[in-house]
């Protein structure tokens, strides 16, 4: 410390010396500085381990399943009779259930979610938006089991009072309720896409005398289209993976049909039924659980990757 001696303030020397002395004891600090990043990396690695865990468990047991049931039979079979004396494991009835419920859900959530997004992004004043958006988020925060209860004890009886042919368990009611559950997701993501369209584009249309509706449909929506499509794809992925609403309200019928008045089982509901039914580990039924889960996992993963790909392309446009 060449310069500390000529500082006229003695106090200063004291502080400086103290810092110097403490420095010598800093081995612990040095250890921490090196150990902390390693520890934190291990935490971050847990999410990778989770992915590996999911893929490994699904894959290894699915392979066991395909040793008993040929892959062709699984993916093209229209009969699913896991509990019977001569069990058959065709996944198509479950796919039919999943596709049907997802289509119904998207028929509800797509238009309503998009219209809500248009209202929030193009029409609503700041004040109104600040009230409506959090309320919509409440809708997204309701547990799915509550929606399941709602579908089973309210929506189904309501539908049956209008349309008596509908059975007590059917795919229509959970499809609709799933759609309602997905509305906030589509509304919020589509709104994000629409608000990120530069104002200058809207002003260009409005200055020509276009109405808001015209500027929305001719300018804003085309510009935000990929973001909107991405939100729909994510909505579909959400519908495919949704479990409790369909499990409760659509029953466990494994018929290969597209009749919305009937009970239809989805992939997710099948997983609940089989795992809850205490299928003995090692049985074909038990392995079929993993084969169905693998199919579900691949479907949703592809949807999510597709959504990300679409919205990334969209970002490059501006």
């Amino acid at each position: 410390m060449a310069t500390s001696s000529d500082l006229n303030n003695t106090n200063a020397v004291q502080i400086r010396d103290m810092i110097e002395q403490k420095k010598k004891k800093k081995n612990l600090f040095n250890f921490l500085e090196k150990a902390v990043p390693v520890l934190l990396f291990l935490f971050a690695a847990i999410s990778i381990l989770t992915t590996i865990g999911i893929i490994y468990t699904l894959l290894s047991e699915t392979i066991e399943f395909f040793k008993v049931v040929p892959m062709i039979e699984f993916f093209t079979g229209t009969v699913l009779k896991p509990m019977s004396q001569n069990p058959e494991f065709g996944v198509l009835p479950l796919l039919a259930g999943t596709v049907t419920s997802s289509v119904i859900a998207m028929l509800v959530a797509g238009p309503i979610g998009l219209m809500a997004a248009i209202y929030l992004s193009e029409y609503a004043s700041d004040k109104v938006r600040r009230v409506l958006k959090p309320l919509l988020e409440v809708l997204a925060g309701i547990p799915t089991i509550v929606y399941g209860f709602f579908a089973f004890t309210f929506v189904t009886p309501l539908i049956r009072s209008i349309w008596p042919e509908v059975e007590a368990t059917n795919i229509l009611s959970p499809g609709i309720v799933m759609g309602i559950m997905i509305i906030p997701m589509i509304a919020s993501l589509s709104e994000d896409a629409m608000t990120s369209v530069p104002n200058s584009m809207r002003e260009g249309a409005l200055a020509l005398g276009a109405t808001k509706l015209e500027s929305t449909f001719k300018v804003v929506i085309p510009a935000a289209l990929s973001g909107i499509i991405a939100s729909f794809v994510l909505g579909i992925s959400r519908a495919i993976g949704e479990t409790m609403i369909v499990t409760i309200a659509s029953g466990s019928s494994k018929n290969f049909s597209f009749d919305i008045t009937q009970s239809m089982q989805t992939m997710t509901a099948y997983i609940v039924e089989v795992s809850g039914g205490e299928a003995p580990a090692g049985s074909t039924i038990y392995y079929s659980l993993y084969a169905v889960a693998m199919t579900l996992f691949v479907f949703t993963l592809l949807m999510n990757l597709l959504a990300r790909y679409i919205s990334r392309k969209f970002r490059e446009e501006y």
Binding site: E33, L58, I112, G141, G241, F297
Partner: protein, 294 residues
């Protein structure tokens, strides 16, 4: 001559404006539609369930007899699940976020982990249930105890906590950490003393939202295997358990057999929603009260 005929434009103008206004109403209705459903849902749950809520129901044990059934076991189960999920997700979530935001070099490893987290967030919750069943319940042989369920739900909501913590850390202004480095602080000192305290409200808000997602989840628990009628109260994280959403599930399923079960389910929903409401309000209060001005 002019191509735009002013009289023609004026004639069509009223129609266009009318169309615009009617669509505006339609869009507003679409926005409100979800809220109306929300109102109906809550009204239905309250009419079915509210009159069933009393002290005996809250504090009682499960029973097949609808008039004697109580949900204290499910409340305690949910409580113990929170005891597992909250620390596990906070520690791993904050740790991962600090690593990704402050230590990881921008490059392949970092973007790989980041993509991985984004993909995990989109995996259906029931798939996590299968992971939990295979790893925690069977391979590690925990059985269907609170710890197994809690860890499964922790993995499920971990991406939410990580992303929220990353955003909170990113929003701490650079000039604060610069000031700390400028005083000779080490990286870990800066993170511990400056960045984490400033990011904490954001992190906590995200963690509470994740926690409320976890305690409302049903699908993973159904896969792990929760007994439908578990009489003894769980006393810790190593006990078998049931949870509020599981109880709602079983009672709803059986409501076609015993009509009163629908009321029990509704009453349990009221309790669950109340719990979620309290958690979310806490998150909002934290966000508003501790929001830093920089």
């Amino acid at each position: 001559m002019k191509y735009v005929d002013v009289t023609q434009v004026q004639k069509r103008m009223n129609g266009r404006i009318l169309k615009n206004n009617s669509f505006k109403v339609l869009f507003l209705l679409a926005t409100i539609f979800g809220l109306i459903v929300l109102g109906v849902l809550i009204a239905q749950v309250l009419t079915d369930g509210l009159s069933w809520i009393n002290w005996d129901f809250i504090s009682g044990k499960l029973s097949t007899d609808a008039n004697r059934a109580g949900i204290m076991g499910a409340i305690l189960g949910t409580f113990w699940v929170m005891v597992v999920v909250a620390p596990v997700t906070l520690i791993i979530g904050i740790g991962s976020a600090i690593y990704l935001e402050l230590y990881a070099k921008k490059g392949r490893v970092q973007s790989f982990i980041q993509t991985n987290i984004a993909n995990l967030a989109g995996v259906p919750s029931i798939v996590y249930g299968i992971l939990g069943l295979t790893i925690f319940v069977r391979a590690l042989d925990f059985g269907n105890i609170v710890l197994a369920g809690g860890l499964t739900l922790s993995l499920l909501v971990l991406p939410i906590v990580i992303v929220a913590a990353q955003e909170a850390i990113r929003s701490v202004p650079q000039h604060l950490s610069e000031a700390s480095y400028g005083m000779g602080a080490t990286k870990w000192q800066t993170i511990k003393n400056i960045i984490l305290p400033a990011a904490l409200p954001g992190i906590l808000t995200g963690a509470i939202l994740a926690l409320s997602r976890a305690i409302g989840e049903t699908a993973p628990l159904t896969v792990i295997g929760i007994p439908a009628l578990l009489i003894p109260f769980p006393g810790g994280i190593f006990d078998k358990f049931t949870a509020l959403p599981m109880q709602i599930y079983y009672w709803t399923l059986d409501s076609s057999l015993v009509e009163e079960y629908a009321n029990l389910a509704a009453a349990t929903i009221v309790v669950l929603l109340l719990l979620l409401f309290i958690l979310n309000s806490t998150a909002i209060i934290i966000r508003n009260k501790f929001q830093q001005r920089y």
